[in-house]
């Protein structure tokens, strides 16, 4: 029995979500092989070979995988899939984009956002924005699983010494092409892997006021997030969104500022270890999940918080 993990990488480095995904594969038991599919991805394959618990790296290094277009990457995964009992990928926009395409090509019903691997082809996954947890058993010859990253502690990036096997590419495709991206670079930690997250909601009133949260974030080494309402209102970009349809986070500390606590937002953060809510409405649903609630005007409380943190 062996598992194949599809690495998310940028050619040079393995992205951290891959390490959580490997942890899910460990829970399934058996050998773990990692597929690094890309263009000019030798360095990423070398990094994958060092990850603890990985016994083999399959590198498919070919021009058609530049920019990780699903139409190109999916056939490569299908080519590698033979003989594996389970194929894992992270349930982020990378895995969500490509894995259902793989599953359909293999005539397999995928399992999305798996939060626990119970063995014997049985898995847990949240449904209805995490308001119910389903235990699901697969009857497929190969299980195709995307992994809810926050449910699995990442494995160590170092300590392994896997062999690297080179596999030839699957050929160019002309269905889609990459035009460009706008990625905001920040010195703050990445939202889904940060130990502390401070998020703002509609109560922030505008984008400039997020500057207050950034000041607190800088003192705490925290990432800044937002509710859907704040993103829809244009206060901050889409990649800030925490929730059912945004990012799922589970930091040690989550501070919700001016967020009422809609179901779809709670779905993205209620597995945080400690939740703080600051809201002037003491009836706000966010207080029902908060360990510490502060009923206060955020425009007083947030600057005071920054000051108190010294």
């Amino acid at each position: 029995m062996s598992n194949l993990v599809i690495a998310e990488h940028d050619g040079a480095e393995i992205k951290p979500h891959t390490l959580n995904t490997i942890a899910a594969a460990q829970a399934a038991g058996g050998d773990i092989h990692v597929a690094v599919i890309g263009s000019g991805c030798q360095a990423a394959a070398d990094a994958a070979a060092k990850i603890a618990g990985v016994s083999k790296v399959l590198m498919v290094d070919s021009a058609e995988y530049e920019n990780q277009m699903a139409e190109a990457v999916a056939p490569a995964i299908v080519k590698l899939a033979d003989g594996y009992s389970t194929i894992f990928a992270p349930a982020n926009t990378f895995g969500k984009n490509v894995m259902p395409r793989v599953a359909a090509l293999m005539d397999i019903q995928q399992l999305s956002e798996v939060s626990a691997v119970l063995g014997e082809k049985t898995y847990e996954r949240p449904i209805y924005a995490g308001n119910a947890i389903a235990t699901v058993k697969s009857s497929e010859p190969t299980d195709i699983v995307t992994v809810r990253m926050t449910s699995f502690e990442p494995v160590a990036a170092e300590g392994g010494s896997a062999s690297i096997e080179t596999v030839s590419g699957t050929g160019a495709q002309d269905l889609s092409s990459f035009v460009g991206q706008s990625v905001v670079s920040s010195d703050r930690p990445e939202l889904t892997s940060a130990k502390i997250v401070i998020s703002g909601g509609r109560g922030m009133q505008n984008g400039e006021n997020f500057g207050m949260l950034e000041k607190v974030a800088d003192k705490l080494g925290a990432a800044v997030g937002a509710s859907r309402a704040a993103v829809d209102a244009g206060f901050v970009p889409n990649d800030y969104q925490v929730g059912q349809t945004g990012k799922v986070v589970a930091p040690d500390l989550y501070i919700a500022v001016g967020i009422s606590g809609a179901i779809q937002h709670l779905a993205g953060m209620k597995d945080s270890k400690v939740i703080v809510a600051i809201n002037k409405d003491d009836e706000a649903p966010i207080f029902q999940v908060a360990d510490y609630g502060l009923v206060a005007d955020l425009f007083d409380a947030v600057p005071a918080l920054e000051k108190e943190l010294g």
């Binding site: 699903a70 924005a129 009857s139 179901i263």
Partner: protein, 250 residues
């Protein structure tokens, strides 16, 4: 060109769902149902394409029980031209849905299929990508901006790091994200007009697709509840508790 829009009947997003006592699933009897919110965005986009002269006909397809006709009527009231209901009681999973949609695409020949990126009941986020694979078409997922060109479309996608822009050859399957548009409310005259628009009734057998689920639900339970917390009086007490009690900041 024709635009095909799959629409799913789901528990309304405002309803607080309840897990059935026998752990077989989520209670859907006597619960308000509506169109999956992402599918509304897809319908809106299709109707706007028609209004802009980029589409000739908008076809709304639903797969589900008899009552899914109401979901199709909602799409028709928003401006879709006709509907197709593939009637099926009981659970149907994304791969079977994608196979049924492929058969309908083969019959109708749309230039684009616009799907919601995920349904808010099973949160699977699979159908659009699967349909695209089965058709051998291009895919643009999580789309927040869509421009239809000559034989191709330019799509802006909401990805983890920000936004990504791609070009896809038409025909294509797109899955739409929240910020693509704001769906309209259907006006009363349009709701009345929608009642006269045709809905074609089909079954999975008509398309030779086996709807049997490949994944078996063993049980469905409520998530562990969070313990009720405390209210703090001021920022000083909050920081003190975070430092000394929760020990999450230094």
């Amino acid at each position: 060109m024709k635009v095909l829009v799959p629409v799913k009947r789901v528990v309304d997003y405002n309803v607080k769902i309840r897990v059935k006592a026998d752990q077989t699933g989520v209670e859907t009897a006597n619960v308000k149902m509506s169109m999956n919110p992402f599918d509304e965005i897809a319908v809106e986009q299709a109707v706007r394409m028609k209004e802009a002269g980029q589409a000739d006909e908008v076809i709304a397809v639903s797969i589900g029980p008899q009552q899914s006709q109401e979901t199709i009527r909602t799409a028709l009231a928003m401006g879709a031209d006709r509907g197709i209901l593939v009637q099926h009681d009981g659970e149907i999973q994304p791969l079977a849905v994608a196979k049924l949609l492929k058969a309908i695409v083969d019959a109708e020949g749309p230039g684009i299929v616009l799907c919601g990126k995920q349904a808010i009941d099973d949160d699977a986020n699979q159908t659009a990508q699967m349909l695209s694979a089965l058709l051998g078409w291009s895919q643009a997922t999580f789309v927040s901006k869509l421009e239809i060109g000559d034989g191709e479309a330019t799509a802006t996608r909401e990805v983890d790091g920000g936004l990504e822009t791609i070009k896809v050859k038409l025909p294509a399957v797109c899955s739409v994200d929240l910020r693509l548009n704001e769906p309209r409310y259907a006006s009363l005259p349009n709701i009345m007009k929608a009642k006269k628009k045709p809905i074609d009734m089909k079954t999975p057998a008509d398309f030779g697709v086996d709807p049997t689920p490949r994944l078996t639900t063993v049980k469905v339970v409520e998530p562990p509840p969070r313990q009720a917390g405390v209210k703090v009086a001021d920022v000083a007490e909050l920081v003190s508790k975070l430092r000394n009690e929760a020990k999450v900041i230094s």
